[in-house]
Symmetry: C2
Subunit: 512 residues, 2 copies
């Protein structure tokens, strides 16, 4: 399949009317063919209008058809085979095994939301029949369901070219909810985006869905995304990326005449709390797991463990030595883009230059373009507590070990944490009392708490929460991974005293 | 029971350190004893700190105890008897029957949330046990529940001194969710607020709940509310009131270092759409119902019908004549405060002065202080569509009838509507096709749709939605009345690979 570099707007694939750009192979630092074309303002507007035009028809379809759509998208993605894998590897610098794993996850997400759509639990239907004889007042017939918000803007993420991009979790959950989507492709992988976009377009066409249920826009600058979020017909936004970009979208959405929700997953350092007994008993094993998690995908996971908190002493020193040993085996890895690599390098250098911070250990040196050498730094809790910059995310394979004087200072450090996607406790049975005392604090600071586990690797199911208090996300009440993600794109409507003939089918069980 | 004019901060009732003010009897325009004292900044901070201190203990209580707390509050309110009714009548100018009805509703709300708390469905627990043999990756043990957000600021509303005030729906749902509350009393009914606040304080003391689960602050100016919403320990806000005040709180909450959700119910004109057959067949009955709903409580309901949309012709003219007849029997009614009365008068005059708007009919003239004379105005859809001021809420017994040229213009007028709490369709079977064509448009513009009913009178149950798209509320994904209101104060947390000994009890069914 030949890439066109074009946009996808409903059933059409017009050439974008704006500036041209190319994807870049970060491993070789070379531009890739073909040229992609930024969407012109009128094309963005057209995609939004088509999504709006499709909305009422799409949301009225039987839930089984929504499920079929998601399944067909997965099938079409799988059918892209080597073409998709090769292009994604080329555009991201990620290893083939990682891309294949991500494709499997993407398909699992589509299958999950097909299941969610088919079950229909997300409709939260409630039927309270009339009670004409109730005193002091009769009760009218009241029936409630969740309905879709409307067209949703989805932003592809740089670090998950499949699972958080064109057919990723935001898209799957929005489509399952009944919302048409307009996707802004990430300019770091426009080719991967086009391939997946065409898979969606073909699925929609085959199932004769209203054109406009899906559009894909390209753009290397912020203009396309900004116009999309500001567009009056867009009703919600899904975004995974940096804190600065996420906050800018949140601000833009707030300043609209009619504000809309932005679900931005932004930043998290995913602290690892090593409790004393576990640290003393299993320091080496924890060190190995930590380094492996940190190095995974060049540290470019939202859930990469960027911080270790533990009480200072011989066990922590031993842990640190084991971290240094394990890091020696970690090869430098190509980052997603030159821009991400430069930001990682600058942020790591800035972190190392903070007073009180020293370099503990490093991975193998870089040997090619845009390669990051894994780095672990160390600081005392006193410095950590007094300098907020030490708890800022460094996107990439950089992490900080914080030495606490005692349990009290460890607790203080935990209490000073900003909102996180995840928090891990490493503990033995002898640590249970300490853990129990920390839990109420931890629950308030993260969406997912792990015991003796590392946060990379997010299971896609009904119990998962991939979210968390600000600034991990812009809305702690939601998750962007797992079945719960569908709730982001729904709102309740109550129907009072409706004749059966006018009730939505799921609220008229007697009529079935 | 003697009123003190003091604040309630946990177990204490200190005198407010700020300026003094008095409630005013709007019917007689005379100040009432005693003096109330505005909370000083340090007292606001102390209430927030106590709420924070109470939070972890309160949310860890058995759900049954939360339910008992809500039930005890209801019992204590009922035990206030005549003292409460008399003071509320005096402070609001509302008739005794209305206050008694509102008390019954308040108790029903407390009972509902006691039921909600006891059932525990709102925890949305999901348990996915480990699948160590799953391929390609094993599944960890994942368990999810909803937890309370933290201390909540609740604003008493002027128009519901009981049901949307100190022990109203926001308070009941936040307490049921596990959130301590700090209530800002509405300065129009501080005495009613103190009485109800003491009922809550006594219930908390009797059940030995952590002090700080409830505090009550007074203040006649915006400063108390602003400091409360800006306080770093406050995690969510419940508010019912004007659009301007609601938007100011939303803006304040957004500009915090850590933004928090504000659930503001702000403005709605609750349009009544009269479809042709119903209008022709039952115009007089609809007119009578409309006027009764409009006049209820001096039009001071969030759900007061402020707009009628219908196709012009003899049936609509007949309807208008019947409206005029019915209005003749509507006595002028005392509004809640002098400020609300002046705003109603000014807004009604401004509406009547808009080009194309004329006065259709009026109720009986005012005979006392702060009395509103019900007013129905009329305009053509062309003017309605071209002048956004015609669709702004006028809080009070003022409503506008809009004459549409034909079905197409009626649809256009419906599409131009802002978000509403409610929308009513008046229809006969012959109107079903027209209704069906409008429904997708209506669903997107309101939280509750009614057939052949008027929106005043909000049933408190599991199916109710009292919410709606902006600007009806600041968050269309929620409701402020009914069981669903509890979701506003919760967020999900996932526990991965937790040993049974550390799991929250509701996620460890095997351990029970």
């Amino acid at each position: 399949m030949e890439l066109t570099g074009n946009l996808i707007i409903g059933n059409d694939m017009p050439r974008g009317g704006g500036t041209r750009f190319r994807a870049v192979d970060p491993a070789g630092d070379r531009p890739l063919a073909p040229e992609f074309y930024t969407a012109a303002p009128a094309q963005i507007d057209r995609a939004c209008q088509l999504a709006e035009d499709a909305f009422d028809d799409y949301r009225a379809l039987p839930l089984g058809l929504r499920a079929d759509f998601l399944t067909a998208i997965g099938d079409n993605i799988m059918a892209l085979g080597e073409t998709l894998i090769a292009r994604a590897v080329e555009e991201t610098g990620l290893p083939r095994g990682r891309i294949e794993g991500e494709r499997a996850r993407t398909l699992a997400q589509l299958a999950l939301f097909a299941d969610v759509a088919r079950r229909g639990d997300f409709l939260h239907t409630v039927i309270e029949k009339a009670l004409p004889d109730r005193r002091p007042l009769p009760r009218p017939d009241l029936r409630r369901r969740q309905i879709a918000l409307g067209p949703v803007a989805v932003f592809g993420a740089s670090n998950f070219p499949l699972a958080f991009s064109v057919a990723g979790g935001d898209s799957a959950s929005a489509l399952a909810a009944g919302c048409p989507i307009v996707v802004k492709a990430h300019p770091a992988h426009p080719g991967t985006s086009e391939l997946v976009g065409r898979a969606i377009q073909q699925a929609a066409e085959r199932l004769r869905l209203p054109p406009g249920v899906f559009s894909l826009l390209h753009g290397a600058e912020h203009g396309v995304g900004r116009r999309l979020v500001a567009h009056p017909l867009i009703q919600a936004v899904g975004f995974t990326g940096s804190r600065a970009a996420g906050l800018a979208l949140v601000e833009l959405a707030r300043s609209r005449a009619v504000p809309i929700p932005v679900y931005a997953e932004m930043s998290s350092i995913n602290p690892q709390i090593l409790l004393p007994s576990a640290l003393a008993d299993r320091g080496a094993a924890i060190a190995a797991g930590y380094v492996a998690s940190l190095a995974l995908g060049a540290g470019q996971f939202c859930t990469s463990p960027g911080l270790v908190l533990a009480i200072d002493g011989e066990p922590l020193q031993h842990f640190c030595r084991q971290v240094a040993v394990a890091l020696q085996d970690i090869p430098a890895a190509t980052m997603l883009t030159g821009g991400i690599w430069r930001a990682w390098r600058d942020n790591t250098e800035a972190l190392a230059a903070v007073a009180g911070v020293s370099r503990l250990a490093a991975g193998r040196p870089a040997k090619g373009a845009n390669q990051a050498q894994a780095a672990v730094l160390v600081a005392d809790a006193r410095d950590f507590l007094s300098q907020p910059s030490l708890s800022q995310e460094v996107f990439g394979p950089t992490s900080l070990v914080v030495r606490c004087r005692d349990k009290r200072q460890l607790r203080e450090a935990v209490m000073a944490l900003e909102g996180q996607l995840t928090l891990s406790l490493h503990l033995d049975e002898a640590d249970h009392d300490d853990a129990r005392a920390l839990l109420p604090v931890l629950e308030r600071r993260a969406g997912r708490l792990l015991v003796n586990g590392f946060p990379t690797g997010v299971d896609v199911g009904y119990a998962m929460v991939h979210g968390g208090p600000f600034p991990a996300t812009s809305d702690a009440r939601t998750t962007s991974v797992g079945a719960g993600a569908i709730a982001r794109f729904l709102r309740p409507v109550c129907y009072q005293d409706f004749p059966a003939a006018l009730l939505p089918v799921e609220l008229a069980p007697d009529a079935l």
